[in-house]
Amino acid sequence: MPRRLRDREESLNDSTARLPDAAVSVEAFSILVERHTSPLWTFLRQLTRSPELARDLVQDTFYDAWRAATRGMRPFTTTSAADEQERWLYHVAYCRAVSARRRQRLIRWDSLDANTLLESDRLSAFPGFEDAIVESEAMHTALERLSTEDVACLLLMVVHGFTAAEAAAILGASVPAVAKRLSRAKHRLLAVYLAEETHSPEGISR
């Protein structure tokens, strides 16, 4: 089950996902941070293609959220739903990623340290799953050949479980436009991914 659907069910009985009104507590905000940091980083890492930049953007996104919360602004009030807060975070993160990508056209860098950390994390998390690692690498490589908007659309709807209406709100597009983009993105991804598999020295055969 996509994680977001699971979260949505959990949130039904999870009043701590909501922040108090004007006097928002650090504790309540920290719950929001803990819940969304890793998924947001995953989302931003693929959009920016830089683990380190993704960390910065996650931090910036939560900084914006904190500023909004301290001003008592929606969706960080007692009447705001956890879904609303999540959409807000992803929208700001997406806009930041687009802005960062724009700048990356002139300045590009790669963090070897961060990549090394990521690989070791994955290996320790999934010992023995060599196929899964190859599969994952092929997928990451395939995603890098898609546009930022296509990747965002795929991640939001396939990975994070947002509905088309929610993805449209996050991406600032209409629902029909999101549906069309999703269709095209999946066709492109399938073609690129299959090509990656074909060229992979190990190949994948399951």
Binding site: P2, V26, S30, V33, E34, T37, S38, P39, W41, T42, Q46, E52, R55, D56, V58, Q59, D60, F62, Y63, D64, W66, R67, A68, W88, H91, V92, C95, S99, R102, R103, R105, L106, L117, D121, A125, A132, E135, S136, M139, H140, S147, E149, L154, L155, M157, V158, V159, A164, G172, A179, L182, S183, K186, H187, L190, Y193, L194, I204, S205, R206
Partner: protein
Amino acid sequence: MSSNSVTPTQPRRDCALVQELLPLQSHNLLEPLAAERLRAHVALCTRCQAELAAFAQLDAVLRRSMLNTPSMPDLVEEIMDSIQDPVPAIRTTSPVRPHERAHPAGVRRVANILGAVAAVLLVALVALALFTGHDQSPPASRRIGLPNPTATIVYSSSQFYTGGAVGQLIVSTAPTSEKDPREVFAHHVTINMCSNPPVGPVAVTWVATSPAFGVALIEANCGQGTHQVALFALSATVNGVACHTWQAVADLIARPPAGTQTTEPPSSQPGGIPLWLPILPRQGYISQSMVGGPSVIDWLYADQTYDTGRFVGQAYEPQSATPLTVMGYAAWISMEGGYTTITVPLPNNQTFFFSGTAGSGSIRQLAEATLTHIDELLPIGTTAAPGYSC
């Protein structure tokens, strides 16, 4: 997932009719009629059955590849540190905690801000010293306002904050009873465009102004070949609600140096030049944009600038403007600060403009092309960017 998942059978003629529908089947995005058409086709077509299965496998691989990420307690800690107490997080002279050493960029962000704060104070002092004794009534549209600023926008050459989707938001104390954004800017806003004092004057060119909105391009020579350009907007309303004070939002970026060979962004991507817009060349530029309520976008080259926008409200017409008709609309053309600007009042109390460092003929051609596709390039939003409110 195997590369042999899709059975290589000959595509049927009607496969093309359901190609767009296949990837959407698992997302419940199909209208009932389309879903039925797809179901009926797939039931009889082995090729599309295989492709449908391939898309399902693709979804599964994508989820597996993305969702199995480690928890990030160090990043959570960094975020909470910066929120609760930004000072310890930037204590760069004290021993650095292991996670800060491993990921210095997050710390660098806050440090840059404080550096920029210090820089703006320095620049303000230098600028005050420079301007004191000079002409005390500079044109508001050409010089940064300095006396008693009540809103300060702080930038450094390497870092800037955003209050939402783009740029930096400043909730100023300038009352909206003042109706000219140029005056508001001159008397209530200070911008530090560079980490160090800029070389020469900072150029401010207002490309559109109205009693409730204004947009300017601000450019500073920061030395060492770096020219910082801020796309700056002031608004008296947010989400259609009148504010008591003017709101400012800005995006700062370095103009690409001469000889830059950036890859042309696809026309469908933000900042990409649409295929129908006859701007040449299509390489060596970088763009800025604002979204949400008004739409503004610019394209910066080493030696050229183009910008266009649409906002709600009626623009001020400069005294030096010359009337003309653009695609049947009564418009005007004006020239200031090396920019040629065509402004077109539209129905529904909206204003469109196109401005650039080109001749009147080129700007007119660009304005007409943009007007034809105005909803595509310059949508008028009903909500502002997150965090953008009175």
